[in-house]
């Protein structure tokens, strides 16, 4: 069940402000890192809504993001639409893809669900990879960022773009928190806890799961637009299943089902990647080992573990005061 504690708000604000400051005072390279973190964090929040709260461990979130990026590219480059409606179209495509996957896999659970999402993600990847019209494995270029000159903002500037992605991250967090606190989000937690019982209470769980993955897809779609606008070039690699696996790693490292944890995970993941890459080109082995260690350590993730300790101390404190009262 989702709750927005003061600790979560504090960590969220700390990270968001920290990212903006890092971008503002750092070099071009620092701003690139901030953009990378923001996009990954949005994806991780999106996956946390599905996996952490809804229990749907998806391995197609990379593909969902890619669908958004490609739809954005198709609408703006191939059909010459302005950037804003193209972005709306891209996000809508991601939501539709998420809903469709959720509906088709609606009766599958556990490992079947994981493998089914893996397969559908790969289907999207293969389709785009083989499509000549979409450039195949060469990808597509010629993209544009939003024109915000009417606000006096030039997104072509690296600092403005970095701040813009951090603002998007904040908005995505708000949207996710808002929906998780709604009746829909409450039901989603029930679905995670006991799907059969929820059905017996009169909820059509297939539709609920489809809508949940649709919402999660919508958030991932925002990341897709940002990814396309960031590099102004997209390739099928965005959709490959190992990208989805990396998003899951970020969620796990930060703390599944905490919503703030995934943001912390994204910061650590990107920072670690750049640090490790300085010393070795076997970054993936380091990720693999960190991941295995994180799961064996209990799988709560960094933020999740801290919340767990804090709750433990509160409980111990309560018991102590209760004992004192008894005496």
């Amino acid at each position: 069940m989702f709750f927005q504690s003061h600790a979560r708000t504090a960590v969220l604000l700390f990270v968001l402000i920290g990212l903006v400051l890092y971008a503002a005072t750092g070099s071009y390279f620092a701003r690139e890192i901030v953009v990378e973190i923001a996009i990954l964090a949005i994806l991780a929040i999106s996956l946390d809504v599905a996996a952490g709260y809804g229990g749907m461990v998806s391995l197609c979130h990379g593909a969902i993001m890619g669908m958004s990026a490609y739809t954005y590219a198709i609408l703006s480059v191939k059909f010459g639409l302005p950037t804003l409606p193209s972005a709306v179209g891209g996000i809508a495509a991601a939501a539709v893809f998420g809903t469709a996957v959720g509906w088709i896999t609606g009766r599958t659970a556990g490992i079947f669900f994981i493998m089914a999402t893996l397969a559908f993600g790969q289907m999207a990847y293969t389709l785009i990879f083989k499509s000549r019209w979409l450039g195949g494995d060469d990808g597509m270029g010629g993209l544009d960022r939003f024109d915000l000159s009417w606000l006096g903002i030039n997104l072509g500037d690296s600092l403005s773009f970095a701040v813009y992605t951090v603002v998007c991250l904040g908005l995505v967090y708000l949207a996710a928190a808002w929906v998780l606190r709604s009746g829909f989000g409450r039901t989603l937690s029930g679905l995670h806890s006991n799907e059969d019982r929820l059905q017996a209470l009169g909820v059509n769980t297939v539709i609920h799961r489809a809508r949940a993955l649709g919402f999660s897809g919508l958030l991932a779609g925002v990341a897709g637009i940002l990814a396309a606008q960031h590099t102004l070039y997209i390739s099928p690699e965005l959709l490959f299943w190992t990208v989805s696996g990396e998003i899951l790693i970020v969620v796990i490292l930060g703390g599944l089902g905490t919503l703030v944890g995934p943001i912390v995970g994204a910061v650590l993941f990107v920072m670690l990647k750049h640090e490790v890459s300085e010393y070795t080109n076997h970054w993936h082995m380091v990720v693999g080992l960190v991941l295995i260690a994180a799961v064996l350590a209990g799988g709560r993730g960094i933020f999740g573990q801290i919340e767990y300790w804090a709750a433990d101390r509160r409980r111990a404190g309560k018991e102590q005061s209760a004992e004192a009262g008894d005496a």
Binding site: S182, G183, F184, R186, T187, D196, A200, G202, H208
Partner: protein, 248 residues
């Protein structure tokens, strides 16, 4: 209110439910009684929609519900409790009840408002908690609740949907004598207009709470009557005493 007509179910070649028919009136307390292996659980699963019958019909208010799914039947006011606890383990008692109430009130898909802060959901939670004697334990984690509390919550979840027909699968299975008393009080405290159908293998309990009893043996209805009629009936005595003698 609830009518079952010639209901049959076969698994492979084995007919587990054979031509079962009965009719439950509004507000009635009906017990389906039968020894272990009489096909009670199969009948129950047919009623709630977890199994599809091989033949026959189930009517709720004279409308067939045989083609409806579990969740659709629940929305028509057919609510069930489970023999084994089947709760939302990760949540608190309050959250469990609120989920059930919100589901039944159609507030489970609200995107902008919190169903758990909705006035009528909160009222239902309080009211049901009162009924199942959990009002003082609303913030307890289900995972750490006692077996007795969990049985109470099990019934509470079904009640929180404000059902018209409550189906209970062996509600006192696995609880001690003191809990059985509590369960009697619980049943007596239920709204009079609520129709209750209980699947049970314990005769004494059935005689105590039932308006009418339907006796099931080998998948067939072998007797139907009031508590008093059932108590004195030779067929019923034979089924139970025969079973008892074999055991001894």
């Amino acid at each position: 209110m609830l009518e079952v007509k010639n209901l049959s179910k076969a698994f492979g070649g084995i007919r587990v439910t054979r031509d079962v028919s009965f009719k439950v009136e509004p507000g009635e307390r009906r017990v389906i009684l039968g020894p272990n292996g009489a096909g009670k659980t199969t009948l129950f699963n047919l009623l709630v929609g977890a199994l599809k019958p091989s033949g026959g019909d189930i009517l709720l208010d004279n409308e067939s519900i045989v083609g409806l799914s579990v969740s659709q039947r629940a929305r028509r006011g057919l609510s069930r409790s489970y023999q084994k606890n089947n709760l939302f383990e990760d949540l608190t008692v309050r959250e469990n009840l609120a989920l059930a109430a919100a589901s039944a009130q159609g507030k489970f898909a609200w995107m902008s408002r919190d169903s758990f802060r909705d006035k009528s959901v909160l009222e239902t939670v309080e009211e049901v908690a009162e009924h199942v004697a959990l009002a003082d334990h609303l913030d307890m984690q289900v995972r750490s609740a006692s077996y007795g509390s969990r049985r109470q919550l099990e019934v509470g979840l079904a009640l929180a949907t404000k059902p018209r027909v409550l189906l209970m699968d062996e509600p006192t299975s696995g609880v001690g004598p003191s809990m059985i008393d509590g369960f009697h009080r619980l049943l007596q405290g239920l709204p009079k207009e609520l129709t209750v159908l209980i699947i049970e293998h314990d005769m004494d309990l059935a005689f105590d709470v039932a308006d009418r009893i339907t006796v099931l043996n080998f998948g067939e209805v072998v007797f139907e009557g009031t508590s008093g009629e059932t108590r004195g009936n030779p067929i019923v005595r034979e089924i139970y005493l025969g079973e008892g003698l074999e055991d001894a």
